[in-house]
């Protein structure tokens, strides 16, 4: 089947030894450079610093295209605090989660369901497994900006006194090495991590109540008692955030520093400016993309994704890793993005490199532009992600995520913008 890319002035068949069918338009003009970027200076009142670095020392392989920052966690209402580094910055999820093994200096009090008083726990689903642990209460304090989210519910992953329930399945990611970080700060578009689905239903493999640590049972939890987006708990600058990563040279780089700015349209350093707003559907969490001959793909901009995950069968996957693309040479691609509900339209241009070549050329790089891989999105399951612009798309762009039901620069969230 001949496939045509939108927004290109010509179509050329790809000549690849291993590929029949011929894709159109992968040999296109290189993407235009993004507009001039201003990265906010870290400091009070609202700018935290992060680094695209290798992650914690326990990782078997250094991380790639993952933003990490340091946080301070305290027993609520006290000065019993601990600084924890290598917390992932994730604009695709909501809520703060910590690996139990990192809490060496403090013990956090449990979070209990009301009414009833049962200890709460959660199984967090990932594509490659699950993370399980009890919920606790904590004060979150961000050391550079000074922002505080007080008495929030957090997930403590891998608490050894808790037995993993049998319906929390897949590879267990309850250690720092398996999880890939010391924790994650979810600053996504939703107010809570699960939302009404987990309040109105018992969804197996999500939330639990635990009469004892070894008898956790599936449970529904009202949204007020779920993990909450910590940004929304700040006293100010609490309607969203901006992930600001500088451009990265095509050869890759190590330890790239960026800024996490809190609030949209609340300070002189966080106005929307000329960014284009892409409304997010409040039910699905997606905006829309037209790409490679398919219109209306469920799309996301997600700093918690480390590559472009898009479907183009004309691009070869890597011979020893089906998770990434390895075209013989860099392919220039283009998609049309639409805000949900008939919102703005913008063209997104991006390039996908040969992942093996990129890793081999710069083995210590922790920021690698152009990484891409297949989604193999299921056409029969329309609720799922189908077009995922991950961290490489953030390079050289300030990417805004506005939280649902919050007005940010005069526009009601949820939305992303860049």
């Amino acid at each position: 089947m001949r496939k045509f890319l939108l927004a290109l002035s010509f179509v050329a068949p790809l000549v690849l030894g291993a590929c029949g069918g011929g894709g159109g338009g992968s040999i296109g003009p290189p993407p235009p450079p993004p507009p001039v970027q201003v990265i906010a200076t870290p400091g009070p009142p609202n700018v935290e610093s992060f680094t695209l670095g290798p992650g914690p020392a326990e990782l078997v392989q250094p991380a790639v295209n993952t933003a990490y920052l340091s946080i301070q966690v305290c027993v609520p209402g006290t000065t019993q605090c601990q600084t924890i580094d290598n917390i992932e910055v994730d604009s695709g999820s909501s809520g703060l989660r910590l690996l139990s093994s990192t809490l060496t200096q403090i013990t956090l009090p449990g979070a209990f369901q009301q009414p009833g008083g049962l200890q709460l726990a959660e199984c967090l689903p990932f594509a490659d497994g699950s993370s399980f642990g009890p919920l606790a209460k904590a004060d979150l304090k961000l050391p550079v900006s000074g922002k505080e989210a007080l008495n929030i519910t957090v997930q403590v992953i891998g608490d050894p006194t808790y037995a993993v329930p049998s319906d929390c399945t897949g590879k267990m990611e309850n250690t720092v090495a398996a999880f890939g970080a010391n924790g994650v700060l979810g600053v996504g578009p939703f107010l809570q991590d699960c939302g009404l689905g987990c309040e109105q239903n018992v969804i197996p493999g999500t939330y639990y109540t635990c009469p004892t640590p070894t008898t956790c049972a599936d449970a529904s939890v009202v949204t007020a008692q779920q993990l909450w987006n910590p940004v929304n708990v700040f006293a100010s600058d609490n309607n969203g955030s901006i992930v600001e990563v500088p451009s990265v040279a095509s050869a890759g780089a190590s330890n790239v520093s960026g800024s996490l700015v809190f609030g949209i349209g609340t300070q002189t350093n966080n106005s929307l400016g000329s960014a284009t707003v892409l409304a997010i559907d409040d039910n699905t969490g997606f905006f829309s993309a037209d790409f490679n001959g398919t219109i209306g793909l469920n799309a996301a901009l997600d700093s918690g994704s480390n590559a472009y995950f898009v479907d183009d069968s004309s691009i070869m996957t890597c011979p020893t890793n089906a998770n990434f693309y390895c075209p013989p040479s860099t392919v220039n691609l283009s998609a049309t993005l639409h805000g949900a509900g008939g919102g703005n339209t913008v063209t997104a241009s991006f390039s996908i490199v040969n992942a093996d070549d990129a890793f081999n050329a710069n083995q210590s790089a922790t920021a690698v532009p152009g990484l891409g891989g297949p989604l193999n999105a299921l056409p029969g399951m329309s609720v799922l992600i189908q077009f995922d612009l991950g961290m490489p798309y953030f390079f050289g762009r300030n990417v805004y995520t506005a939280i649902e039901n919050q007005t940010a620069s005069g526009v009601l969230g949820p939305y992303v913008a860049y």
Binding site: A127, T169, G170, G197, N306, N376, L378, V383, L384, D388
Partner: protein, 157 residues
């Protein structure tokens, strides 16, 4: 040789303590009702499908639940489930859905570089793809050795 491999995997599963013998992938149609009960879901059988291009016959049994999880089990004409797909707000019970292939899946995920959002495993005996995040997870799996003759895997959706 393929049959022996399947029997060995089944025996390994049966030896695990305290697990009900639920099997989707690699199981047979009698397990579909067990899966439906385990998920507290409703079962809908699609009209028996025949691959238009190759004539391979298969049926799709779809289990859907009130909380938004959908699991589809693809069965051959002899009743063997050769593929499964899933979509929902979280992962399904992958022990149940992958049946005797679950341990192989876990080992493959442990060997792969960590990726919270996207996983693709392609082994000669098992293919698993899983993508997403809490609120929207979905994927599919199949056993290459169990596919009907001339079956195009893009029909696993």
């Amino acid at each position: 040789m393929r049959l022996i491999k399947y029997l060995v995997l089944s025996a390994a599963l049966a030896a695990l303590p305290a697990l009900p013998v639920l099997a989707s992938l690699g199981g047979d149609l009698s397990s579909v009702q067990a899966d439906r009960a385990h998920m507290k879901g409703a079962l809908r059988v699609s009209a028996a499908a025949t691959s238009a291009s190759t004539g391979a016959a298969f049926t799709v049994h779809e289990i859907s639940t009130a909380y938004g999880m959908t699991v589809r089990e693809y069965a051959r004409s002899d009743g063997k489930v050769f593929a499964v797909t899933w979509a929902g707000p979280a992962n399904p019970d992958l022990r149940q859905v992958l049946g005797s292939y679950y341990e192989q899946f876990v080992q493959a995920a442990e060997a792969a570089p960590p990726n919270h959002r996207h996983l693709v495993i392609r082994q000669s005996g098992l293919v698993v793809e899983n993508h997403g995040r809490l609120r929207a997870m979905g994927g599919r799996a199949w056993a290459p050795a169990l596919l009907p003759a001339n079956f195009a895997t893009d029909q696993i959706k």
